[in-house]
Amino acid sequence: MKTGSVTITNRLGLHARPSAMVVQQANKFESEVWIERDGLKINAKSIMGIMMLAAEQGAELVVMTEGTDEEQALKAMQEILVSGFGESNPSS
């Protein structure tokens, strides 16, 4: 099992559209993918799970992957979670 932590940086947090992107990313992999926040561990392949995190900006998450492609899965999940989800930055 691989574990890595990540902080949500986009302003709006994991609302509907980013949640969908996270789920799509997780579903690309064979491995099981979980995200944990403050002791609450959810299945990242489920939109209901992601929504359960109610992760706003600044939320600290731990990603866990287990399976044949766990290494790639962890890397991909961390990438998407810090990507900002294509949110335009109003202050730029």
Partner: protein, 590 residues
């Protein structure tokens, strides 16, 4: 004698509906927790599979119907719900729990949904709250399929039915509309909720947030719904009923079609003065084609609705596509694109993560645009690129200082230079107008008139700021009087400044669509009026039956009046006189 009661809610979708109440009970009681035997596990799993499958199909179908009635962009509202409904992992966990708990599908499903939404429930963030609403809507559908009451009814309501319920989902609003309801009232919900968005796109008058309204109103009660003011009148007296009849406007498509019956459009007064009439539009819909066909342009396109529909700022390509299709549809008629008027009562989490203590006086309108130049430029690029047919104008909202107008103009010029460099086409002579909706702008209208291509008075905000009154606050709403002398003087100053500089001046707030205000505004010198499409026919008929001379006399006298009582009286007397002269206009819809 029945006593009339007024119930105050939140305005969610403008327009007036008169009719009889139909109280709809939406059951959100807990699903049964029935124990099952091990051999029933398989059957329960199949039941939940089928219910989810039906819910997904139903949502897809609803999405399609929403697109048909209210235009493509509205369908996005249902995307999130479809994704939630189709969550395979969640379904797996439900089936696992059915086997583990030995409990029926309804019980397990609703308990897992409750577990999953507990953190969302605690969140104050409106994006998170919206997700919760979406999840609840889906689970309600799945549960109703499980219990066998799945198919939403489709039998038509009796004529003039107004739906009253505790809570109304977007899909239910669509269903009510399709079954012929003329208005909706709910105890819960906000003006930003998706249900309100759908209602606006359908031109279905709606009031939300009317506390415990489902307990106050009974089936068959006569109701007036004033969606613009967020008011519901229960058992109104004959006088009120009659006064509202002339404002009724749920069926705007019909009234737009009736424009074809007019001799002239735009209308001309009996003594030969043409008054430009245009429509206020929020979202694309079936009305666009009808309006364009009858040579009606758009005097106020509220562009922020493209933003309110998606959960983050649409990029240039998406905005261009949206504006360009609007411009194309209306060409050669003009479309006045008002740049984003976000802030205050409209979502701005993205721009403003921390709430303001006084949003109406805060970061909104042009202030938001100037404060986030990258977003503003994206919108301007998209609007300019949609202007190649030379029928697009730009209007800047909530100006309070000429410096803001000039800064915005400089940004527009810079964007034009960029576009030219990129060899992208646009209308180099595009007109940029100023929206006058603060007392400071009205008092310095001369300065705006010197710099702008046109002025437009936004009467709702102007009145709010002039009277220092929040009309949603029932304890002070009485001061919100559109014919208040202070408001009239500011409008007159704006019109005079524009006339002096020979530029067009229109009125585009609610007042422009008020039948009793129209003669006054024309007499004051407004060159055009922009209003909800439902009011155009009646407005055109009034103007054609009116002489500019009598309108001017009315304006002169009203502007001299000292109190709102006097002004209201003068306007009313004139309106009644006109009504008896133009009986056909006022009695055609009863």
């Amino acid at each position: 004698m029945v006593k009339s009661t007024q119930i105050q809610g939140v305005p969610a979708s403008g327009g007036v509906a008169l009719g009889e109440a139909r109280v709809v009970f939406t059951l959100d009681s807990m699903a049964p927790e029935r124990p099952i035997l091990p051999e029933e596990i398989e059957r329960e799993c199949q039941r939940i599979d089928r219910a989810v499958e039906k819910a997904v199909l139903e949502l897809k179908e609803i999405r399609e119907r929403a697109g048909k009635h209210a235009g493509g962009p509205v369908t996005k509202i249902f995307d999130a719900q479809l994704m939630i409904a189709g969550d395979a992992e969640f379904l797996k966990s439900v089936k696992k729990e059915i086997a583990k708990r030995l409990q029926c599908a309804e019980g397990v499903y609703s308990s897992l949904v409750a577990d999953n939404t507990s953190s969302l429930r605690k969140s104050k963030d409106s994006y998170m709250r919206q997700m919760l609403t979406d999840i609840e809507a889906v689970s309600k559908k799945v549960l109703s399929h499980l219990t066998g009451n799945g198919d939403s009814p489709n039998h038509p309501f009796p004529p003039n039915t107004i739906i009253v319920a505790k809570k109304i989902s977007p899909a239910e609003a669509l269903n009510f509309y399709e079954r012929g309801a003329v208005g909706v009232v709910s105890a819960e919900g906000s003006a930003h909720a998706h249900m309100a968005l759908i209602a606006r796109a359908l031109y279905l008058p709606a009031v939300v947030g009317a506390d415990r309204v489902q307990n106050k109103i009974r089936n068959g009660d006569r109701l007036i719904v004033d969606g613009g003011l967020g008011k519901v009148f229960l058992k109104p007296d004959a006088a009120l009923w009659e006064s509202y009849q002339s404002k009724q406007g749920g069926d705007s498509l019909e009234s737009i079609k009736s424009l074809s019956g007019l001799d002239k459009f735009p209308p001309v007064t009996t003594d030969g003065h043409t008054v430009e009439l245009a429509a206020n539009i929020e979202l694309p819909g079936p009305r666009d084609a009808e309006l364009a066909q009858r040579n009606v342009g758009v005097g106020l396109y509220r562009t922020e609705f493209i933003y309110l529909q998606s959960s983050s700022f649409p990029d240039e390509a998406a905005q261009f596509e949206y504006y360009d299709s609007i411009a194309e549809q209306y060409a050669p008629q003009k479309v006045v694109m008002r740049t984003f008027d976000l802030g205050s009562d409209k979502y701005v989490e993205e721009l403003q993560p921390s709430p303001e203590s006084n949003p109406a006086l805060g970061f909104r309108g042009i202030r938001t645009s100037l404060g986030t130049p990258a977003l503003f430029k994206t919108q301007l690029r998209a609007i300019l690129r949609a202007s190649t047919r030379k029928n697009v104008k730009i209007m800047l909202p909530l100006l309070s200082d000429i410096g803001e107008f000039n800064r915005a103009r400089r940004i527009i010029k810079r964007v034009m230079v960029e576009l030219r460099r990129e060899r992208l086409e646009f209308d180099t002579d595009i007109e940029v107008g100023a929206m006058i909706e603060t007392p400071s702008a009205a008092l310095t209208a001369d300065c705006f008139a010197r710099n702008a291509a046109f002025l437009s008075v936004g009467t709702n905000d102007l009145l709010q700021y002039t009277m220092a009154v929040d009309r949603d606050n029932i304890r002070v709403a009485d001061l919100y009087k559109m014919f208040h002398p202070a408001q009239l003087k500011l409008i007159q100053a704006t019109i005079d400044a524009a006339n002096q500089h020979n530029i067009p001046v229109t009125v585009c707030g609610e007042m422009a669509g008020d039948m009793s205000a129209i003669p006054l505004l024309i007499g004051m010198g407004a060159t055009g009026l922009s209003m909800g499409p439902a009011n155009l026919y009646r407005a055109a008929s009034i103007i054609s039956g009116l002489s500019m001379a009598e309108a001017k006399a009315l304006a002169a006298e009203t502007l001299k009046a000292q109190t709102v009582k006097e002004t209201e009286n003068l306007v009313e007397v004139f309106h009644n006189k006109l009504k008896s002269r133009l009986t056909g206009v006022f009695s055609e819809r009863t």
